[in-house]
Symmetry: C2
Subunit: 348 residues, 2 copies
């Protein structure tokens, strides 16, 4: 009962201090026992563990994080949640994180650059050990990324990546992916191939457009600018873009369409249906990403399967490796895609 500088502990929760007092040992001994350090008398350890269990002790990760300057948490920023792709990615991230003992703080930019900046700052404030991000569509200013990276926050981009800021990027090879599916169409005799493109400000949009051009080029097909229509990444945009294509004189219309992703393809298919055009007879169409709905679509959609789970897992593993100093930043990781042929391309 000496006049020690002992913590009052107003909150009702059990702490190492309390356990220590009850057992007549120091807090450090309790801490060591709880963390399985070797230098603790087995008997003492047992007493501590028993007391901890009995009192329903839950270690305070916040205090631990503050002391260790490490939260064992990674922040995730996704531009949308509903689309089937991101949930799968998140599952992959969760999987890798869980095995490595990390937790996930999930934030959502809703495709808005302000919200994205908010999210990043929030995550920095929460002192996450690293950030995993797929950029919002509206982002033009990459200084937020630059700042974070310069401040030493491990940063890994996935899917929608930003190269040249020194962060590791995990994605499919958009160019190759789009080129391959375009060549699939060319190989089956299509000649007037249109492209519903994403915004070219986003790496995906640009990369895929390039792949499309590349494929035409390789096979000596002329690039017809009127056959490239920006649709964005969503169903609605795909619908409008197809409407635009259908306004072309009948003989100038494409015989096949490469959509930047599956949702855009769905929108386009809807427009075709409304115009009583048959898929693939009147117009073939292919997508990209293998949305869960692709198989079930009115006309099952030919698409490039994008291993979402694996992207998430790869990205999280890469980030964690960098956090733990086992790998260097600035790598470029490519995840393989696979052509999934269904009916919409008319090749089966």
């Amino acid at each position: 009962m000496a006049g020690k500088k002992n913590t009052p502990n107003t909150s009702g929760r059990t702490t190492v201090q309390l356990i220590a007092q009850k057992l007549g040992v120091s807090a450090m001994t309790v801490s060591r026992a709880l963390n399985g350090k070797p230098n603790v008398d087995p008997k003492t350890r047992d007493r501590v563990l028993a007391a901890a269990r009995k009192s329903g002790y839950t270690p305070n990760h916040i205090a631990r994080s503050l002391a260790l300057r490490r939260t064992e948490t990674i922040g995730v920023v996704v531009p949308e949640i509903s689309h089937s792709f991101f949930p799968e990615v998140i599952r992959g991230i969760e999987d890798a994180a869980y095995s490595a003992g990390y937790h996930i703080v999930l934030t959502h930019s809703a495709e808005d650059d302000c919200r994205e900046r908010d999210a990043i700052n929030t995550l920095k404030s929460k002192r996450v050990d690293g950030i995993l991000i797929s950029t919002a569509q509206s982002v033009t200013d990459i200084s937020t990324y630059r700042d974070a990276i310069r401040q030493g926050v491990p940063f890994v981009f996935f899917d929608r990546v930003v190269q040249g800021v020194g962060a590791t990027c995990v994605s499919i090879d958009d160019g190759d992916c789009c080129a391959r599916i375009t060549e699939h169409l060319i190989g089956h005799g299509y000649r007037a191939i249109a492209h519903l493109s994403g915004p070219t400000t986003v790496s995906i949009g640009k990369g895929r457009l390039n792949g499309y051009k590349e494929a035409l080029n390789r096979h000596g097909l002329k690039l017809r600018p009127e056959l490239i229509v920006e649709s964005g990444f969503h169903e609605k945009g795909g619908y409008s873009a197809m409407e635009e294509l259908l306004r072309l004189p009948a003989r100038e219309r494409p015989d096949a369409v490469v959509a930047v992703n599956d949702p855009a393809a769905f929108g386009a298919m809807k427009a075709l249906q409304e115009h009583k055009l048959r898929i693939p007879q009147d117009m073939a169409i292919v997508g990209m990403s293998d949305d869960v709905r692709a198989e079930l679509a009115i006309c099952p959609l030919t698409t490039m399967r994008q291993p979402a789970f694996e992207i998430g897992k790869t990205a999280a593993s890469a980030l964690i490796a960098e956090i733990e100093g086992r790998d260097k930043p600035g790598r470029k990781l490519i995840v393989e895609t696979e052509l999934t042929v269904r009916k919409s391309c008319g090749c089966v």
Copy 2:
């Protein structure tokens, strides 16, 4: 340069202390200015804010949380992430949380009770201000919930709820929901109606089964135990369950099936297809939850629309209200469902 007990601050990051030193004021003043407290000289405030911006100061939420014993974070536990329902719920949660200034730590039980217990303990360790959970299928022991609730952790169940432990539950009225869709079939002349049930250990499974029974009962239809087959919540189980029904002698087969949810219905539809049976002519089928794929299924699926986004939003708002003391725990919140008639029931 007096021999003060000043923090060395080995890490390179800016802190309130550092700003305070640079400006020759106390840390408290900086803190107050940064948090917009009223009792700060406007001039001082401006100097502080300027210095903060210039030095790229990011508040340390960890330290703040430790001091305030409040993390402004809510923990979320979902049993799966891929299924389209949960991503939508999460979006709803995120929406409500974001507006209220809370963040989300996402965990995933993978339908496993051990992982779920882990997740809850993790969240308690991280001192989240409250927990939002949809229980895993394999859970039989509810003491983990009990303990957490008794320890004063605000707890709200959504979708797969546990009543009687004093926590608020947010869900649809499973009984009513299933009864209504069953009655829809009865009203259109079906008489031998089967039910692919979920595990009855889960509230949803039990509630829906009861609703099904109730509907038959209300209309004087005899309950035929052989027409109730447990399918679980997934496609695979739905497939097997339908296989089982199809082993019944032809004249004892059901003319319609109420599946516990859409994925189970998809599995059942696949089995019907493989047996060359037509939907709905040979057998009608309805689901529940309005999976994104329902509309696109080979035979568009009649189902009860479950407002996933709203469930998430309602649950998060309820939890936050309880965290902030604006509402009491133990409430029961029902979110309305809506019958969505498509082709699979043969009623259009």
